[in-house]
């Protein structure tokens, strides 16, 4: 295989870069060891920052967020819900910070409007009675999966290649260049070499591992962040705690649910990226100060991601575009065609892709300018099933009795699942339960896959999409993946759900007695 640019990592940075390069006419191949947004890009709030969160600590990041947020609202409106946001302080919070907040915002050109606490509580009745200050800001929410899927979808339409479940495992070095990269298909075990003119490491928390393949040392600190998903949507707007950024100070609506978080815990290795009971309790306790109802809310799952924080020792050679993200040209490490782009905010992904694209194009001798600042992100039908409510609306409109519902919690019909399957097939890729779950609402409801794992697996068998002996194995893996996010939030009603799931899948089906090959 050959490609102009090999991108390693299928998060928002990698998919954004693939689109950026495709729009400049550069052919690239993106390899991802799991699936799209498998790392931090799929494990965040989905918050499109107004920038107000960073006005005190990091004004340049704040300005960057504001500019990029405005662009995304304009160019990627289909991925954004323009909810607006609130910053609120409660009794006991630092009143000095509250007093400084409006001027800090205006210093960064971030629009902000003060509300009296009563008015804020009329807008958001879930807010605490102990509110002492409230400000309206231009926060919005974004669907991280849809955004990454749309980016890679357009890139693919323009000739890019995506290889999912594919890990870069070895680099072949010739002089000052990486000549080729050995790729391992993690599903089939097949290996193949790919030659690339340029290699971009966009693997987020895995950047150190990937750089190490080229014997490039990268100092990184892993910071785990955990978030919770509620059963109901608690507020219309984003709600931020008005204080210096800390633990569990944001609540973000996401379709029909709300997302609470995050924690920030240093972890020594990437084996420990899972939410814990302690983190869940910390988030619930902390956020109930702003929104008392979260103490008694029902939660359907938790999830964790890792913020890749670069701890660079060699400031001179680090082309730090801003304190917010790092673009590393490994020329200084003796490799002329290897670049790492990491860190940053979801909100600023486009800018990161632009800067990385500029560097890569310069190295390729291509002078086409970046187009993502002006070209709208197209909306493709195949990518829109991640949004809550889309599948049932579509189903009701069509009124087709043949179109059975496969996921009862989220009302996802066969037709929607078929379209997702077809979109995967169109890229000559293999659909499975997890790939379908990532590209739709399947498995996201309160039953967390108890019923829909069976129904979707049966549907895949009906369509001969999977080898006949694979369906049970896929179900078992799918439930196991959902479980990682469930076990720390199992109390109240969700405990009943978990018991139902286990009584069916263990009690009746005896799934635990069947060992999946390779596990």
């Amino acid at each position: 295989m050959e490609t102009q640019v090999l991108i390693i990592g299928g998060g928002i940075t990698g998919t954004g870069l693939a689109r950026d390069l495709a729009l400049r006419g550069v052919v690239c191949t993106l390899v991802e060891q799991g699936d799209i947004n498998a790392g931090a890009s799929g494990a965040n709030h989905g918050l499109l920052h107004s920038g107000a969160r960073y006005v005190a600590n990091d004004p340049s990041a704040a300005r960057e967020c504001r500019r990029e947020g405005e662009l995304l609202k304009k160019l990627g409106a289909h991925c954004v819900e323009d909810t607006g946001g609130l910053f609120v302080a409660v009794q006991g919070d630092d009143e000095g910070y509250v007093a400084d907040f409006p001027s800090l915002c205006s210093r960064c050109d971030i629009p902000v409007k003060e509300l009296d606490p009563g008015e804020a509580r009329r807008l958001e009745p879930a807010l605490s009675e102990k509110l002492i200050a409230a400000f309206l800001v231009e926060d919005a929410t974004i669907d991280p999966f849809r955004l990454s899927l749309e980016n890679i979808w357009q890139a693919q339409e323009m000739g890019a290649t995506l290889l999912r479940n594919t890990q870069a495992i070895r680099f072949q070095r010739v002089g000052r260049r990486l000549d080729s990269v050995l790729l391992l298909n993690k599903k089939t075990g097949e290996e193949q070499w790919i030659r690339a003119e340029q290699v971009v490491n966009a693997s987020g928390a895995w950047s150190r591992e990937v750089a190490a393949l080229a014997e490039v040392p990268l100092e990184m600190v892993y910071s785990k962040g955990t978030l919770l998903v509620t059963f109901d949507r608690i507020t219309r707007r984003v709600v931020n705690r008005l204080r210096r950024p800390g633990n569990a100070d944001i609540l973000v609506p996401g379709g029909s649910v709300s997302l609470l978080g995050t924690t920030s815990i240093r972890i020594p290795s990437l084996d420990q990226v899972f939410p814990t009971v302690e983190e869940v309790d910390l988030i619930v306790d902390e956020e109930s100060a702003m929104l008392p109802v979260v103490a008694s809310s029902r939660y359907v799952r938790a999830y964790a991601g890792v913020r890749p924080l670069i701890g660079s020792t060699d400031k001179e050679d680090t082309r730090s575009v801003s304190r917010n993200f790092a673009l590393l040209d490994h020329e200084k490490d003796g490799l002329d065609n290897f670049v790492t782009i990491t860190g940053g905010k979801f909100t600023t992904y486009r800018l990161m892709a632009e800067k990385a694209g500029d560097l890569v194009c310069r190295k390729l001798g291509i002078s086409v300018p970046c187009l993502t600042r002006s070209q709208p992100l197209p909306s493709s039908h195949a990518c829109h099933w991640t949004e809550t409510g889309i599948a049932p609306q579509d189903w009701i409109r069509k009124r087709d009795g043949h179109d059975l519902i496969l996921c009862e919690c989220e009302l996802v019909p066969q037709s929607a699942v078929n379209e997702v399957i077809d979109s995967i097939r169109k890229r000559r890729d293999q659909p499975d339960l997890e790939a379908i779950g990532l590209r739709s609402r399947v498995g996201k409801g309160p039953c967390q896959g108890t019923y829909c794992s069976v129904k979707v697996a049966a549907h895949l068998v009906d369509r001969s999409e999977i080898p006949s002996d694979q369906s049970r194995i896929l179900m078992k893996d799918f439930l196991c993946r959902r479980w990682r996010g469930q076990h720390p939030i199992l109390w109240g009603r969700q405990m009943d759900q978990a018991e139902l799931m286990e009584s069916l899948h263990c009690g009746v089906f005896c799934q635990e007695l069947y060992v999946n090959p390779g596990s």
Binding site: H402, L404, V461, D469, H487, L490, L500, V508, Q511
Partner: protein, 434 residues
């Protein structure tokens, strides 16, 4: 204004809970002439697959399937002395099962068992499960699997609770002579969403039976037996099966569908018809609002308004309220509580220890072994380690030290512990075993 009259009912035993354990307890109690009132929602029993497990796996850590449940029970008595099934003499376990199976036979829902060994039954995932007894309507599947005879699995267009392709696909490796076909259920359109309980009622009509049998017959080729979703009638499933087999001229068997499934509903309906006919005062859709105990007097169960009887006064209470799904236990962020009496719940130290991170951890999740600890008579223990009340008993899945889902002992646990508790109640009342 008329005088406010207090509506109450007296009985010897109040059974709280109407799942597998509660129903079995009422059955055993009324068989012994004990006057019984039973409360609680009956929905849960419909989630049963219809299989009657005694003990299918032990030790759980080794995922060891048991072909001989009796040898397994002896092992449990040694390895897990606190396991509820480990505390009941084997003779009583046999007697409990025999009485329960006799009841099922008598109400037209006969079960078959190999008696001394577990049978292997088929599930809708195409997995195989060890169980002690299964409805007659499923039994040909046990033989078909054992002999790997050429078998046709059928399902119906529009019925999502069962998929023959899935069954066949997952059995194929070990049972190559299987295949699958999708039929249109007689009288239904291709765009109809079908429901198992409607199909079961339909199957009681001879016209539907004939049409379906003819349809099946036209699809049978080299196949020596036919498996299909469990919809062969609600009340008279053995008769429906016999007629169908006669017309198809091949052994036919049911496989339980996704819950709530018909074999579970048949159990529910059988109990609902039988127990009141034997004098059990049933308050099935009503919940106990509050319980109090007059010193030296009966338990007083308050049912709240909304019915003729607002209060039940019972000399003894059997708690068969189940676990979380049954609402016998409730978990908040910190602790697991028993909902009605506030009884002590044996449980892991804190929530971090409730579950393992791997869903399929071979040890099973510790929270599943949480529950009520009891004395030898199945009376829940109080703080002191003595029975919390002299006349309060508990049975079924609410009991501690068992993981029925992994050990495949759910029905056995419900039936056997209810039997043992009723036997103790009967004994205290001066009764003798029938």
């Amino acid at each position: 204004m008329p005088a406010v009259e207090r509506h109450w009912l007296e009985c010897e035993l109040a059974v709280i809970g109407a799942g597998m354990a509660g129903m079995a307890a009422s059955l055993f109690a009324c068989n012994r002439g004990i006057s019984v009132a039973q409360l609680g929602a009956t929905g849960g029993i419909a989630f049963s697959s219809g299989f009657l497990d005694l003990l299918g796996v032990h030790p759980v850590e080794e995922s060891k399937r048991l072909s001989d449940p009796w040898a397994g029970l002896s092992a449990v008595q040694g390895d897990m002395p606190l396991h509820p099934l480990g505390r009941v003499p084997i003779g009583d376990i046999r007697a409990a099962l025999a009485e329960y199976l006799r009841f099922l036979e008598s109400v037209g829902l006969p079960y078959l068992s190999l008696l001394e060994s577990n049978a292997e039954v088929l599930t809708l995932l195409g997995t195989v499960k060890p169980t002690y007894a299964a409805p007659l309507t499923m039994w040909s599947g046990v033989r078909a699997w054992k002999e790997k005879r050429p078998c046709l699995f059928l399902d119906f267009q529009g019925l999502q609770e069962f998929n023959a392709n899935l069954v066949s696909a997952n059995l194929k490796a070990e049972w190559p002579a299987t295949r699958s076909e999708r039929l249109t259920f007689p009288g239904s359109g291709s765009a109809d969403r079908l429901y198992t309980r409607h199909l079961a009622r339909e199957m009681e009509l001879s016209d539907t039976q004939e049409k379906l049998a003819r349809l099946i017959r036209s699809h049978v080729r080299q196949d020596e037996c036919v498996g299909m979703p469990a919809v062969l009638g609600m009340r008279e499933s053995p008769r429906v099966l016999a007629r169908m087999q006669e017309m198809i001229q091949a052994p036919l068997f049911e496989i339980p569908t996704l819950p709530a499934c018909v074999p579970g509903l048949r159990l529910k309906e059988s109990f609902e018809a039988y127990l009141p006919s034997r004098g059990v005062k049933a308050f099935w859709q009503r919940q106990v609002r509050a319980v109090r105990r007059v010193e030296g007097g009966p338990f007083v169960l308050n049912l709240g308004g909304g019915g003729e009887v607002e209060e039940i006064r019972a000399e003894a209470v059997l708690l068969a309220t189940g676990r979380f799904f049954g609402k016998g236990l409730v978990a908040d962020r910190g602790r697991i509580r028993e909902t009605l009496f506030g009884l002590e719940v044996r449980q892991p130290e804190n929530r971090s220890h409730w579950h393992h991170r791997d869903l399929w951890d071979p040890r099973g999740h510790p929270v599943n072994r949480a529950g009520l600890e009891t004395d030898e008579s199945f009376r829940p223990l109080g703080v002191s380690g003595q029975a919390a009340y002299p006349d309060l008993y508990a049975s079924g899945s609410i009991l501690a030290h068992q993981d029925w889902m992994r050990m495949k002992c759910g029905s056995g646990l419900a039936i056997v512990t209810s039997y043992a508790a009723v036997k103790a109640i009967h004994g205290r009342r001066g009764g003798h075993c029938p």
